[in-house]
């Protein structure tokens, strides 16, 4: 069984149908890139996986359990699914270390010592051991995003969702964040990422999922999909990127 299984997911915002029946399986250790035009529903799909958006119809299974809309279900779900956002969303009133320690302490009820140990480990992993005592506004965008990744990892999720994690960064800061994501992928972390970094997707991802108008229009091995798109929509999307 796959780690995450989405079946016939439907979602509307008012009259606007954003997801029109999504089926997707994500295996343990798989790295998936979600691509598609703006408004095609990539973020919405990602956010349904950890319950930030409720769904109108369909089923979501994570780690073999069906996700209901009960609060305890959602909590259980979020322990398995971490998320990193485009805008970092660090807690500005806490230091980097405190940002990473908070959730293990209050949600998982870990002791301060335990939480600190894990936080230091995670911050070391993203290369920020020397910035632990800094507040978010004392860090560059790239550093903030790496703290956000460490914060998500400290909860030991089984899958990490990344929504355009480099889109808010100055170009010279993109690579330090991508390097961290690449390292996670190499270590076997299950990743679902919405990205516009096509070269990165090609190099790092096992599978590429192209969304178009609320549906998965085409998917498969990145090399394949890029080299010979089967649908004109993907061809024009890929072509648009090149040109």
């Amino acid at each position: 069984m796959s780690l995450v299984e989405l079946h016939a997911i439907h979602k509307s915002f008012g009259a606007l149908q954003v997801l029109k029946g999504i089926d997707l399986k994500i295996d343990e250790g798989q790295v998936i890139a979600l691509i598609g035009k703006s408004g095609s529903g990539k973020s919405t799909l990602l956010r349904t996986i950890n319950g930030l958006e409720t769904i109108d119809d369909g089923t979501i299974m994570v780690a073999g359990k069906k996700v209901g809309d009960h609060d305890t279900d959602l909590l259980q779900l979020r322990l398995n699914v971490g998320m990193v956002f485009q805008q970092f969303n660090l807690f500005p009133h806490y230091t980097a270390l405190e940002n990473v320690m908070l959730s293990p302490q209050v949600v998982k009820k870990q002791s301060k010592g335990e939480a600190r140990k894990i936080a230091e480990e995670m911050l070391a992993k993203v290369g920020l051991s020397d910035k632990m005592m800094h507040y978010p506004d004392q860090l560059s965008g790239g550093q903030q995003q790496r703290v956000a990744i460490a914060r998500a990892l400290a909860m030991k999720p089984r899958v990490l969702l990344c929504d355009e994690v480099t889109s808010a960064l100055d170009p010279e800061l993109v690579n330090e964040v991508l390097a961290v994501v690449r390292q996670l992928a190499e270590e076997g972390m299950t990743l679902v990422m919405v990205t516009h970094e096509m070269r990165f997707a090609r190099e790092v991802c096992d599978s590429l999922v192209f969304m178009h108008q609320g549906r998965i229009h085409e998917s498969g091995n990145p090399e394949h999909v890029f080299a010979s798109p089967k649908t004109p929509e993907l061809a024009s999307f890929v072509g648009g990127l090149a040109g």
Partner: protein
């Protein structure tokens, strides 16, 4: 007829001013507690709770404080509750204060970025944890200046309780005027005393505003 010196007047007003200060503090503290409870109820977001709090706020913001006090003072006895001016004044001002504070604080909570809610939700926190560790600490920083600023309104609001017979600064001023026939002197002193209570609060609020404006965390 006895002669009143200026010191007699000021002395008696100072004694009464204690009650103005005490009533202000009571109303502010109790109003903060009720206001915080209303804020939590409203933010937790049950549709009926939201409506109730909105109605509550509109009721107290949309009617004169004097009418609110009258209704408390004359209404509660109709329900068989015997209320002293003290209780009526405290109760009335608490309701008034809570309505304004909950509205001020709601604005502060709403000004915390949406991403903070999303990130803390994604980390598995429940509503109480989010409020406690993520939202309120940030909202509080924003809330301090307007809250201190509003405390001035509470102090001035206590003057209205003189009408229901609560002897604070304004009521004492009226009584002393009746004895001395020196309204200008007496009310002049009353005004100065209010100013001495309120001005430091205003100054402090302004100082905080300046201080917090530059602080992002």
């Amino acid at each position: 007829m006895p002669e009143f010196t200026l010191w007699d007047i000021v002395h008696n007003l100072l004694l009464a001013a204690r009650w103005t200060v005490l009533l202000s503090i009571l109303a502010f503290v109790l109003g903060s507690i009720v206001g915080l409870a209303l804020l939590l109820v409203r933010t937790a977001g049950n549709r009926w709770a939201v409506r109730f709090v909105r109605g509550y706020v509109e009721l107290f913001q949309g009617t004169p404080l004097l009418m609110q006090l009258f209704i408390v003072f004359f209404g509660l006895p109709l329900l068989g509750l015997d209320v002293s001016p003290w209780i009526a004044a405290t109760f009335g001002l608490t309701l008034f204060t809570s309505a304004f504070l909950t509205e001020i604080w709601r604005g502060c909570v709403e000004s915390v970025a949406k991403g903070q809610w999303e990130a803390s939700t994604a980390l598995g926190m429940n509503f109480t944890q989010q409020m406690l560790y993520v939202i309120l600490p940030q909202a509080l920083r924003i809330a301090v200046p307007p809250t201190v600023g509003f405390s001035v309104q509470v102090v001035k609001g206590t003057a209205v309780t003189s009408i229901i017979g609560f002897v604070e600064l304004t009521k004492a001023g009226t009584m002393i005027t009746n004895a001395t026939y020196a309204p200008f002197t007496v009310y002049g002193c009353v005004a100065v005393l209010y100013f001495l209570i309120c001005y430091p609060l205003s100054l402090y609020a302004r100082h905080l505003e300046g201080k917090f404006r530059h602080v992002t965390r």
